[in-house]
Subunit: 341 residues, 2 copies
Amino acid sequence: MTPDQAPARHVRPTLRTIADMTGFAVTTVSRALSNAPQISAETRRRVHEVASQIGYLPDRAAQRLKTGRTNVISVLLDPHEEILGYGTSLMLGLAKALTDTPYHLIVTPNFLNDSNLDAVRHIVRNSMADGLIFSRTEPFDPRVRFLIENDFPFVCHGRTELSTPHPYVDYDNFSFAYEATKRLIVHGRRKPMIILPPKRMTFSQHLLHGFMTAIREAGVAYEIPDEIHLDSPIDHIRDFISRRAGEPDAPDGFTCGGEVSALATITGMSDRGLTLGLEYDIVAKQTSKLLVNIQPKVETIYEDLVDTGEQMGHVLLARIGGKDTTDMQVLLKPTVNFPAV
Amino acid sequence: MTPDQAPARHVRPTLRTIADMTGFAVTTVSRALSNAPQISAETRRRVHEVASQIGYLPDRAAQRLKTGRTNVISVLLDPHEEILGYGTSLMLGLAKALTDTPYHLIVTPNFLNDSNLDAVRHIVRNSMADGLIFSRTEPFDPRVRFLIENDFPFVCHGRTELSTPHPYVDYDNFSFAYEATKRLIVHGRRKPMIILPPKRMTFSQHLLHGFMTAIREAGVAYEIPDEIHLDSPIDHIRDFISRRAGEPDAPDGFTCGGEVSALATITGMSDRGLTLGLEYDIVAKQTSKLLVNIQPKVETIYEDLVDTGEQMGHVLLARIGGKDTTDMQVLLKPTVNFPAV
DNA sequence: TGGCTAATTTAAAACGTTATAAACACCCTC
DNA sequence: GAGGGTGTTTATAACGTTTTAAATTAGCCA
């Protein structure tokens, strides 16, 4: 536009700048800054001093070009993760773990409605990142399989059933569903229902298993709806619950895998004139402050997504650093402390 | 770990690869791919052909090093934006606008609780991005001021009162509050209350103005709470509403700037035995599917955050491209279509 | 003093791209 | 056939870093 009055942008200091100021060679400066062992202590001190004085920061592009490392962590974001800040919480935790590392967080949203395998392929093939973060794993997740095959660092939120062990951070959904359902039964409920994620997700099985264990131990009736799941449109859930509540043998307790489904359940039941804590109970998984503050009568078990993100960050950094991958499997236990009935 | 059996990573094609395959020089290939005018049509065709055949993708690091352009758009994310997928929706829209451009979206969360001016300074000074996206603007926003001074491309969600015009995308919060409050009055409400964002945000003034205009036109009573705002903890809002509803001259209508505050209001009122649509009404700003599906009786006016993000993306691209900046100001009008009373 | 080793520093090349300036081929004109 | 375009291609040099290999210095002993 106005090339003659180009703004005198602050000229960024480079290794050359420090070299000229100290009298050392560029190589020496580079070495000193990366704390290479062959540099004398005095030189190292002096170089660091000058560097921080002039606010030197290495040029990411040059480093990346030379080393092949991108210093980028890519987060695959699913459209389902929009609601209630799932993605944002996870990223907040990730960012926390990545503070004071050279890594940047770049987010790749998935527009298609199916798996983001293509995005994974693209990132690996064109080396757009040093590591990958994603969630909503399936038992034989093709993304996990692909990444293992290509020896590409990643951590997923959720487990698989693949025989090769791989890094993951997961929430103990078995315990959640088990404790939640037991709690319903303690409240005297005799026919719990569980609202599950879509069947193809791994953690659907975990939840189901926990639910059924509690059911069998108590020997009560139960119900597992086929028509709805956690990703269903909210009004579908609400309408289904409402309809079901009007039929015979209606459930009187709900184990909800998410806050949104719990809210939808409350509305659906309320449409039938039924009140929470009176005619029925809910125990839900809580990931935000929303539900408990809107409906204090609902009981919840907390899953800390910020912490999850932070753990994932640490594991991924270790994996990128080349550490042994076998014990990189974190299962976060829910802490249950219900008040006495 | 196992350096002797390093995986034979796919060797990425470069300009050199194409040059060798076609017999042209590297420069020619580079030119052909960037559609420089001095390259003959036939050469251009041949080069493009080979490039797409072998799946050539330019090395971002090399481009960035050479050109100084980062091809990165940085999004500053505020902790307040976690709830209800504000950030995620915006980013989804941004990503949409950035499809088929070389730009990547990198997110910089703000851990501190105040302005992210430091992050802005850091990004500009160390040229970490070609453009900046942020929200929650204040009338004399220091970030905007800094960016204008340094001639750095940015688009913010929200306006300022700075004299220098700058690119922004904003929602017409005046119209929202005006229409919402008018609607309450149409419902026969005689003392509307509005729940505003923190006073220092620009759009707080816009909302207030719209609210007061509707109030004055109708000549009804009104109330503006000092104790709570949209960023208050949810239970504060709920408790305040509940307490206020038990005092004399309680409000009978609520203009809510967000879904969460609307839900908190409903709960607070319900604690007093008051029912929505019967003893009081709410008109809220809707940015997700949550509220309407949970509480179909609440009336809402929609703000499309994905669209907002997309618009911001387009504006930012134009700004980076050096286009004239004076008419880069988008004000998104709410579409109001309430059912007949 | 010369020669060997260890410690420290350095020059030069490279990563893949684009910008600058020069070269080449071709056609036209006088 | 020499001079002068024009249209197209090319060699070379950067951008800022790290890596490889070589050079320098110092320390030590014979």
